[in-house]
């Protein structure tokens, strides 16, 4: 159990830790406690403001996993789901009203409950590129209607294309998914 837990500290987390603590130490060293404290306070405020959304994201993900049978997910957005599966995944991403703190955990849950990596990539890309929520709340005020609409329209097919590329066989060696991510030593 303890070893299993230690294994979860993967290289990704190690990199994040090194960068976080490194940049924090750099700011503290070069610009003093006053500047560092200001940043820390902003970070803390952000952290606490997202906690309820993170919790809701986890809850929604867990409920979806229990409620929707694995076969249904596999059938609709699994490996054999074809272009339609990618389109569905991209559309869910486009419509899903949430921030990164909900999207990425949800994608991680999807790949352990039957979705393939192409669908996960299409889902994330749909949210990143053509997420309605992002476009309306954040992009529109800065760019105005014309730019947003133009970018939206040319980006619309991209989640499906990205998912197709991610399904390329060559990536099998990088990530298999479908309930067997990374830990190949497990029985």
């Amino acid at each position: 159990m303890v070893i299993g837990h230690l294994k979860r500290v993967d290289w990704g987390l190690a990199l994040v830790m090194a960068l976080s603590f490194g940049s924090g130490a750099w700011v503290l060293w070069h610009e003093g406690w006053g500047v560092a404290r200001g940043i820390l306070e902003e970070d803390a405020a952000l952290f606490f403001s997202i906690l309820p959304k993170v919790a809701l994201g986890c809850l929604i993900g867990a409920l979806i996993r229990r409620l929707i049978p694995r076969e249904t997910i596999e059938q609709n957005i699994g490996e054999g789901s074809g272009l339609k599966g990618l389109a569905i995944a991209g559309l869910i991403g486009l419509l899903f009203p949430a921030g990164p703190f909900t999207i990425f955990p949800l994608a991680a849950i999807l790949v352990t409950s039957g979705a393939d990596r192409g669908a996960a990539v299409a889902f994330i890309s749909g949210w990143l590129l053509v997420g309605i929520n992002r476009a309306i709340i954040w992009e529109m005020p800065f760019f105005g209607m014309d730019f947003v609409l133009f970018r939206f329209l040319i980006s619309l097919p991209m989640p499906v294309l990205l998912g197709l590329l991610a399904r390329w066989r060559g990536f099998d060696r990088v990530f298999i998914g479908n309930g067997q991510p990374e830990r190949r030593d497990a029985p």
Binding site: S20, F47, C58, L59, I103, W138, F171
Partner: protein, 165 residues
Amino acid sequence: MIVLGFTIFLGAIAVCLSLLALKRGRPVFVTSLEDAKGQFLHLLPRLLIGILGSGFLAHLLPKELVLAWFGPKSGMLGTALATLAGALTPGGPVVGYAIGAAALKAGADYAQVVAYVTAWSLLTFNRILTWELPSMPARLVLVRAIVSLPFPFLAAFITVLIKSN
């Protein structure tokens, strides 16, 4: 206000799903709740570390330099620079749009700004570190990053094609 609205909407989805689960039987709901708690506790320290880093990294990145990389008629090199700039711009909902819009007003090429926003959306190094790596399998993140690389260029290319006609 709108942001609060979305949180309430998320809450509503969660409540509906919970009711559905309860209808299937109490054990379904309880195990879901435990799953959710496990994942939440797994994420908590990771998110804290990621958010700490995002604040300090955003502070350290020279925003003027990122802005200066946009040039009108800068061609493929400009697109490549815009892509790089997009990837280096901190995540969070505002920064990339703010810089992109400012660059557009300052006379930067439309296509380069589209490439920049696309790169910033898909590849922000900062968001990958803050959110994606802590909450997803690292190898899946790698696949997503690799397949995303050509897309800022594709977006710029399509923009040039449409705008020049």
